[in-house]
Point group: C2
Chain length 192, copies 2
């Protein structure tokens, strides 16, 4: 999506370790009007499907999922990352490895909020190693729900999570795919 690619080039910053910092518009400060336009694009890409619910992982996935849902008029469910006092034990869980923090964490969704009749769109801001999406797929599978596909803002194509998940048959629509970062210069993959 050219609008997002242009925004990344204009306002993103490449940090050491090929970390692309987009906190000024995507995951700290949030350009909600941009997210709504991204939601229109995702709605169009998935217009051949009948999505019943958008699923993401807290915290940075929530804004994008909410904006997409505002366009698509379906509920959002976000997986939580740790037990809080007022969540029942009646949950679906999955373990997710974080390469950023080099540790595993658990995510969970209450059983009441996903069922076998659901057609889920999995959403996240970044796709690198694909661990969060894999965790959401595990939860969807536990619930017997259908995963229509995934919608991601920025995929790091040089990490292999996206391509590896596509090989399993999972549909992934990434609005911007960064294929390489050389000397701080970002090159996007052409999306046919």
């Amino acid at each position: 999506m050219k609008l997002l690619e242009d925004k990344i080039l204009k306002d993103g910053t490449v940090m050491p370790g090929n970390i692309v910092k987009v906190g000024s518009f995507l995951n700290h400060q949030i350009d909600v009007d941009l997210l709504l336009k991204m939601g229109e694009e995702v709605k169009s890409l998935y217009s051949d499907t009948d999505i019943t619910k958008i699923v993401t992982v807290e915290a940075s996935g929530i804004a994008i999922a909410t904006a997409f849902a505002a366009v698509m008029h379906v509920p959002v469910v976000f997986a939580k990352k740790y037990q809080t006092l007022n969540v029942s034990e009646n949950v679906y869980t999955a373990s997710v490895h974080s390469y950023t923090h080099n540790k595993n964490y658990n995510i969970y969704i209450e059983r009441d909020f996903i069922c076998k009749d659901d057609n889920l769109l999995l959403v996240d801001d970044f796709l690198a190693n694909g661990e969060a999406l894999k965790g959401l797929c595990t939860i969807a599978s536990s619930a017997g729900a259908n995963v229509v596909g995934c919608a991601v803002a920025i995929e790091k194509g040089f990490q292999k999570g996206g391509d590896s998940l596509r090989k399993t048959g999972l549909r992934i629509e990434s609005l911007a795919i960064i294929d390489s970062i050389t000397d701080g210069k970002i090159t996007f993959r052409s999306v046919s």
Copy 2:
């Protein structure tokens, strides 16, 4: 706001300790269309102001802030709860006491995202003791930004955070104020 009060009565659950569980539509599964209508109400309540940015705290404030921003067409900034590897040291911080978890935690916002020219609307899903809003006020004050007011989905009027903050002159618009819970029965405060 009658729509929200009715939703709380219909789909909310009162748990031991007067915890009102609204995970089915507000902070785990999210009824985004409801949030958009709440955003319209908040936009109307604050129509006499010139809000430049909506500020909240991760994670449960993000969905409501994003939905309000989708209606009001301003950016969102959410305060983060702990340091991650790709956040600079150049931040405004505040300490917040969590009564739910009985501990203090730090929140921070990067300095680039709030400035003295901003008119901020502080948003949260719940207002009980007012600790999160106080933390956001501290950050706004550090940045020299103006706080136009607060917009909250559900205020627990029987805890005194909201009324105590109002006494300091802070404008708080709560879309539903629960004044008492007796034997599991919720009574709302009449909003004039």
